[in-house]
Every structure is written in structure tokens, then in C-alpha cells.
């Protein structure tokens, strides 16, 4: 009974296996929710409040892992990144900034539009930009499904993840700007 055995028990399976779901990008969100709730209700620390230390510690670790797995699989970007990591592909989001020129141009336009709306203190314009960004992200999501579940083109998928990361940062920026104006 050593640390290695314990780790194999707890960390031997990936997040998809943890919820007994197929390892793929396309996911049934309702099914994921249901599996998460079933798993969480088994291991939540509330179930072990009156148990011994060992069980309480195990529950804390398992519940933490179940929450992490759910958060990772629920977000399409995190899910894509995780699938690539499982296949041994580093998405290089912090280091690889090589992007098609057209994408970079679009980025600059986005930033200008956000800046203008911020300067004008125009919340409606910011909300509109956020909606447009989400539409772009939805398009990326379809492309990712094709690359990961269809063609199995992992390099293309990694590029799509990097693009999405850009969009996510923009959306974050818009969200921060809206909060700063509203509150």
C-alpha cells in the first residue's frame, strides 16, 4: 500500500473514462451533466463528514478531481486542449504565436473595435462585439470537431485551439470592460 498504488487508483483513468464517456470532442452536454452529478454525489465531502480521516481525505481528492474533470470537459476549448494533451500534442499557446496573416489582421480589428467601444463607454456595442465573438468561436468549434473527431489532424486542431485562445482572451477583455462600465 504505497503512494504509487494510490495514484494508480485515483489518477489512472482520464477524465472521459472517469465519466464513462467516449474519448472524443463531440459530447452530449446533458449526458455529461448527468454523469457529473452521479459521480459528485458519490464522492462529495458532505457524504463523508462523519467518516474517518482517510475517507475524508480520499473524498476531498476525488471530489476535487471530479470537479476538475467536469470543468475540463464542459468547456469546448478546455476539452479540445485536453484531448490534444492526451494524444501527446502540446498546444503551445504561450510560445507559438505564428498565425495566418488574415487571422492577425482580424485580431487587430477586433482590438480596435473593443478599444473604441470602451472609449465611448458603449456597453451595447461591447455586448454586440461579444455576440460576434461567440459566433466566431462556434465556427471554430465546428472546425475542431472535424479536425479531432473526423480527419484526426492534430496539428490543425492545435492551431485551432491557439486561435480560440485568442478569441477567449478578447471575450475576457470585453467582459472586464463591461463590468468596469456597469459596476
Amino acid at each position: 500500500m504505497n503512494a504509487a498504488t494510490v495514484n494508480a487508483d485515483r489518477f489512472g483513468q482520464d477524465f472521459f473514462a472517469l465519466f464513462d464517456l467516449p474519448r472524443r470532442f463531440a459530447i452530449d452536454a446533458a449526458q455529461l451533466d448527468e454523469r457529473y452529478r452521479a459521480a459528485a454525489s458519490q464522492v462529495h465531502p458532505d457524504r463523508f463528514a462523519h467518516a474517518g480521516d482517510a475517507e475524508r481525505r480520499a473524498a476531498l481528492m476525488m471530489a476535487t478531481r471530479v470537479n476538475e474533470a467536469y470543468q475540463t470537459l464542459k468547456s469546448p476549448l478546455a476539452r479540445a486542449r485536453y484531448l490534444l494533451t492526451l494524444s501527446g500534442v502540446d498546444t503551445q499557446e504561450e510560445t507559438n504565436t505564428a498565425m495566418p496573416p488574415a487571422f492577425l489582421m482580424a485580431q487587430m480589428e477586433w482590438r480596435e473595435a473593443i478599444m473604441d467601444a470602451k472609449m465611448a463607454r458603449d456597453v451595447d456595442a461591447l455586448e454586440k462585439l461579444a455576440r460576434e465573438l461567440r459566433a466566431d468561436a462556434a465556427a471554430l468549434r465546428d472546425e475542431l470537431a472535424a479536425a479531432l473527431d473526423g480527419a484526426g489532424d492534430l496539428d490543425a486542431a492545435a492551431l485551432l485551439v491557439r486561435k480560440w485562445r485568442f478569441l477567449e482572451k478578447l471575450e475576457q477583455e470585453i467582459g472586464d470592460a463591461i463590468e468596469a462600465l456597469l459596476f
Binding site: D46, T64, I178
Partner: protein, 619 residues
């Protein structure tokens, strides 16, 4: 209640026996204790039949401590030694508190938390809160006829780590076994949701005496999932009193009041506020210590006008929470009103206008939090085996670290479901650097100076390397109480350094046990006997649990593992027969360690079983 009498001290309660567990709402203005009795939650009254206990503690000249109505009655006569609304000072330093001038107390700044000078000596808010909790514990034990197994204590959802830690410390100091810290709006949602079989998205708007919380929950088939929470931990009914107080000063052209007069006028202000809930106008009268008489009339309209900015101030967190939950006003099925301050008509109207629906006020806003806490305590104590509901709560504020240039890097974002752990790697920036300072922060702002500092510690013993070669992994773990622990580990060289911190606002376990031993209540107690009794109860519970686990899942163990557990079990049984607490505790710890991997495997199996069940139902 004789039938529910727990076992004699030292004897473990058999599984079918009811364990005495309570929910405690430790409020700014009033506190309550509730329990589940024959299936339904009830608030426990004092001998006079009153369920509310004013959160007021008075330190008397003869060394005694008065808590509740007796203390409240004397607050104007003895303001400096009568502590009201102590919750506002929990986990707060002098610099955190505004409007200190309006307080009749003498404050002393102490590391981490402000302290109050009374005739009974310098008191920390933790000690004052413990006095309130002790009174509630005594009430519960008298009413239930036995020692409590444990308690769920509620805290405002928007309480930060320091305030939560302080609350937990107060409970420990009062001799309570804390089963869980539960967020007040979540407790209210349990009480409301279970009573009404509610399904869908609900908002809990909780305006208490000194704190404001708003939580958005999704209720579905017994799961209470908090989607987002927001609030203001320094906004509540007290502020409305203060608006009336200021109005009275202005109207009667008063200044330079004594602490006695200040307290008197604040009390009158509270009474006026309460009167205006039912009446269109109220008289405001007081006789000041210099003989001057104050006689004013306050109308509802005027009160609404002078308190409008306070009401508006609650709507901002509501908007924030809706944004974070990514839902609109139209998605909200009901708005549950909690906290005595939501009785004010202008508050109900503002909330109704914002959500476009009449808020739900069919539950007693003073009691609902304690009732929900009691329901949770009943489950956590193990009285309800067929657990059919589950709470998924979140942390209210982001947690992060200080990085270069005085900036905050968020590690765990606000509204993350707990328990949660996140790790991030950092590196050294100088050649040969052997130590790294780690500064843990809580808050949403970018600058370190704008966030709350929770803890600082230094990781030492990093092997000298070139800059950027060390890999320091900092792990944040938030438990189900919303409390944080931080671990840092250098791992690139295989040499590990490791430190764990508790936020600096909390008292260390040693300090708590020293204060416990010092407290008058326990001087008369036989401490050694008590320790042994507690150790034996713990050991017996673990032996029971282990035997049950072995009966169910022994096939998960190899022969060698089984032998190790059996040996530890036998040792624990032998230790109980003796009379040394230390030996019993050591045997319990050894049994815990021996069953650690077994516990983890059983949980894996339970998850798999739960999912299999779903697979079959889906076919």
C-alpha cells in the same frame, strides 16, 4: 426526547441511533440554533420561548458574561463593554473597518484581526463570537438532552477566507465540532427548495444585519448547484439604522454625543426602521444624558428617500451574479428573500421591480438560514442514510498569487465549484536563487494592493540553479468549507521543499486549544478524562466504519493489504481497552493510514457503480 438520548459518553452510538446535530445561524444582529426533529427542522427556543438570540455579548463587572436579551437590554447603559454586531469585525484588521468613529468601542490593532478593549480584558472578535456560540450550544444541549455530535455554522457567501477561518475558530473555541461552514443563501435555498419541491433557477437575496449576499442556484432533482454568488460583506440592516441615526442628528442638530447617547439613538433608529415596515410614520424619541429631549417624526417616504442609495447598492452584486451565471432575469423562476432586513417594503419593491416578479416571502426570513443549516447538519452527522440531495457550492472571490510588479495572477477564479485544486508553475529569476517568497491573495482586482492578503510564506532550500531552471509548483486547494491551503514544491531537481500555510488571520490549532483549556467553562472539567472520551469515540467510529467497509468491499484488497488493515484494527481495539488518550489517537491515526488506499478504491468503485446505474436506465 428520551428515546433519542445518545449513548453514554465514551460509548459509541449504534448506527441506528440519532446523532445530535444542529445548524447555527451566527448572525450580525441575531443568532439561532435549529435541529431536525422527527424529520422536520425546527428552531430551538430559550426557556422564555424565544428562538432569536440577539448577537450581543456583555462583559459584566463581576466577571460574568451575559449573552442575548440580557446583554442587549443594557447596551445603552454600558456601551463599551457590550459588544453588538461583532460579526462585522471577524477577520478584519483596523485598516479594513470604516466609520470606526461611530463605534463606542476601544479598538486595538492586532496581527490579522482587530481586538476590543473591555473590562474583561482585550477580546478578539473570535472570542466574542465564541461566547454567542457557547450560549447556543448550551441551549441546544439543554433542549435535546445530550452532547452535540456536531454543528453546521452558516457564513455569508461573500465572506472571504479570513472571515471564514475566524468563524471556524470561534466555533472550535466554543467547543463545537464543525461539520461544515455553509453559505447562508445556500442554506436558505435548501430550506426553501426542500419544502417546496422547487425545480429551476432561483435567486436568493439575503440582506442581513451587516452583510449582503446574492446567490443564483439551479435546483434539479435534489441537486442544489450554486451557479454564482456575489455580495457586499459590509452592507446590511445596520446601515439603514445608521441612515436614520444620521437623519436624527441632522434634524435635532446634535453633535458631540457620548457613547451612551450614540448607542441609544442607534437603538431608537432600529426601532423606527422596524416600525416603518408596518406603519406610514413613526415617532422618534430619546432623552439624552444631558437632559435634552429628542422628539421627531419619520415618515415612510422620507425613510425610503434617505435609504435609497443603500437599496440601489444591493442591485449591483445582483447584476454581477447574473452575468457570472450567464443567465438573464427572464430565466429566474423565483427570488427567495432572506434576512430580517428584507422585511423593509422598499427592499421588496426594488427586488420585485428588478426581476419583474413578486419576491417569495412565505418563509420566515429570520429562521430560514438556521433551518437549512439544521437539515444539512442532519445529513452530515449521518442521520439520513438515503442521501437524496447534494450541494454544489462555489468560492465567492478569486484566489491568486503576487507576481512581478505588484500584480495579481489568478489561480482559481471566483464562482468555481468547490472542492477545487489548481496548480501553477513558477521559476526563479536570479542565478543561484535558493528561496522564493509566496504571497497569497484573494480578490478580483489586478493590483496586489487592491486585493486581500491572506498569507505570505517563503519556500526555502531550492537547490542553486541558473535563473529560470527551477520549477516551483504552487498548489491551491479549497475544501468544502471554502477554506484554502497552499503548498509550494520545487521539483526540477528531484529535491523537494514543501510548506503548507493557513491564512494568517486564523488562529493556529495550538492557540485554539490553549484558549480552550484557559476558558472558564473547562477549568472545572476533567480535561484528561474528556480527551480520552473524545479519542475513544473517534476510534470507535473509525473501527465501525472500517468493519462496514470490509464487509462491503474486502475484494478490493490484496492479502497483504488486508492483513495490514486487520492488524491496525486489532491495535485500535486494544488501545480502546486501555486508558491513554495518546495511545488511542495513535492507533486511530495508524488505522486511518492503513485504510487510505482502500478508501480511495472504494470511492472509485462507487463512482463506477453510480454510472453503471445510469447506463442501464438509459437503455
Amino acid at each position: 426526547m428520551a428515546l433519542l438520548q445518545i449513548a453514554e459518553p465514551g460509548m459509541s452510538a449504534a448506527p441506528h441511533q440519532h446523532r445530535l446535530a444542529v445548524g447555527i445561524d451566527l448572525g450580525t444582529t441575531n443568532s439561532l440554533v435549529a435541529t431536525v426533529r422527527s424529520g422536520s427542522a425546527v428552531c430551538l427556543p430559550d426557556e422564555a420561548g424565544r428562538t432569536l438570540l440577539p448577537s450581543v455579548v456583555r462583559y459584566l463587572a463581576d466577571g460574568d458574561t451575559a449573552v442575548g436579551y440580557a446583554a442587549q437590554a443594557e447596551q445603552s447603559r454600558d456601551p463599551a463593554n457590550t459588544i453588538v454586531s461583532v460579526k462585522r469585525f471577524m477577520g478584519r484588521g483596523l485598516a479594513d473597518l470604516s466609520n470606526l468613529a461611530r463605534e463606542p468601542y476601544r479598538f486595538v490593532d492586532a496581527p490579522g484581526m482587530v481586538q476590543l478593549v473591555t473590562r474583561a480584558g482585550t477580546k478578539s472578535p473570535v472570542e466574542v463570537s465564541a461566547d454567542i456560540l457557547r450560549a447556543l450550544k448550551a441551549r441546544a444541549e439543554a433542549s435535546l438532552g445530550g452532547e452535540l455530535t456536531g454543528a453546521v455554522i452558516t457564513v455569508p457567501a461573500y465572506f472571504d477566507d479570513a472571515q471564514r477561518q475566524a468563524t471556524k475558530d470561534a466555533a472550535k473555541l466554543a467547543g463545537l465540532n464543525v461539520l461544515r461552514l455553509l453559505n447562508e443563501p445556500t442554506a436558505a435555498a435548501i430550506a426553501y427548495g426542500l419544502d417546496n419541491g422547487a425545480e429551476g433557477v432561483y435567486v436568493v437575496y439575503d440582506l442581513g444585519g451587516g452583510t449582503f449576499d446574492v446567490s443564483i442556484l439551479k435546483l434539479s432533482r435534489g441537486v442544489f448547484e450554486v451557479l454564482a454568488t456575489s455580495g457586499d460583506s459590509a452592507l446590511g440592516g445596520d446601515d439603514f439604522d445608521h441612515r436614520i441615526y444620521c437623519w436624527a442628528l441632522e434634524q435635532a442638530k446634535l453633535s458631540g454625543l457620548t457613547p451612551h447617547d450614540t448607542r441609544l439613538l442607534l437603538t431608537r433608529a432600529r426601532e423606527a426602521k422596524e416600525a416603518l415596515t408596518e406603519h406610514a410614520e413613526t415617532r422618534f424619541t430619546a432623552l439624552l444624558s444631558d437632559g435634552q429631549a429628542v422628539d421627531l417624526t419619520l415618515t415612510q417616504a422620507e425613510f425610503h428617500a434617505i435609504s435609497k442609495t443603500l437599496v440601489d447598492k444591493t442591485i449591483t452584486p445582483v447584476r454581477k451574479a447574473l452575468r457570472d451565471a450567464k443567465i438573464g432575469v427572464d430565466d429566474v423562476k423565483g427570488v427567495v428573500m432572506v434576512g430580517g432586513a428584507t422585511r423593509m417594503p422598499q427592499v421588496q419593491r426594488a427586488v420585485g421591480d428588478f426581476f419583474g416578479q413578486t419576491p417569495l416571502t412565505n418563509l420566515d426570513p429570520d429562521k430560514v438560514v438556521a433551518l437549512g443549516a439544521a437539515m444539512q447538519a442532519n445529513v452530515l452527522a449521518g442521520n439520513k442514510r438515503d442521501d437524496d440531495w447534494l450541494l454544489l457550492d462555489v468560492i465567492p472571490l478569486s484566489l491568486g498569487l503576487e507576481t512581478m510588479g505588484g500584480l495579481t495572477e489568478k489561480i482559481i477564479p471566483r464562482n468555481s465549484t468547490i472542492p477545487i485544486a489548481r496548480a501553477q508553475e513558477f521559476t526563479t529569476y536570479k542565478d543561484g536563487q535558493t528561496a522564493m517568497a509566496i504571497h497569497v491573495l484573494q480578490g478580483e482586482r489586478e493590483l496586489v494592493a487592491d486585493c486581500r492578503s491572506l498569507a505570505r510564506f517563503t519556500l526555502r532550500g531550492i537547490p542553486p540553479m541558473v535563473a529560470g531552471a527551477a520549477r516551483i509548483r504552487v498548489t491551491f486547494q479549497v475544501d468544502a468549507d471554502g477554506l484554502l491551503s497552499v503548498t509550494a514544491r520545487e521539483q526540477s531537481s528531484g529535491v523537494e521543499a514543501h510548506i503548507e500555510v493557513k491564512p494568517s488571520y486564523g488562529l493556529s490549532d495550538d492557540e485554539i486549544s490553549r484558549m480552550l483549556t484557559d476558558s472558564i467553562e473547562h477549568v472545572h472539567d476533567d480535561i484528561a478524562a474528556r480527551r480520552l472520551r473524545e479519542a475513544v469515540v473517534d476510534a470507535e467510529a473509525l473501527i465501525d466504519a472500517t468493519n462496514n467497509a470490509l464487509a462491503a468491499d474486502a475484494d478490493l484488497l490484496s492479502d497483504a493489504e488486508r492483513e495490514a488493515i486487520d492488524a491496525a484494527l486489532a491495535a485500535a481495539v486494544a488501545a480502546i481497552a486501555g486508558s491513554e488518550a495518546a495511545r488511542v489517537n495513535a492507533a486511530t491515526a495508524a488505522l486511518n493510514q492503513a485504510t487510505e488506499a482502500f478508501a480511495a478504491r472504494r470511492m472509485d468503485r462507487n463512482i463506477q457503480r453510480a454510472l453503471k446505474g445510469h447506463n442501464i436506465s438509459e437503455l
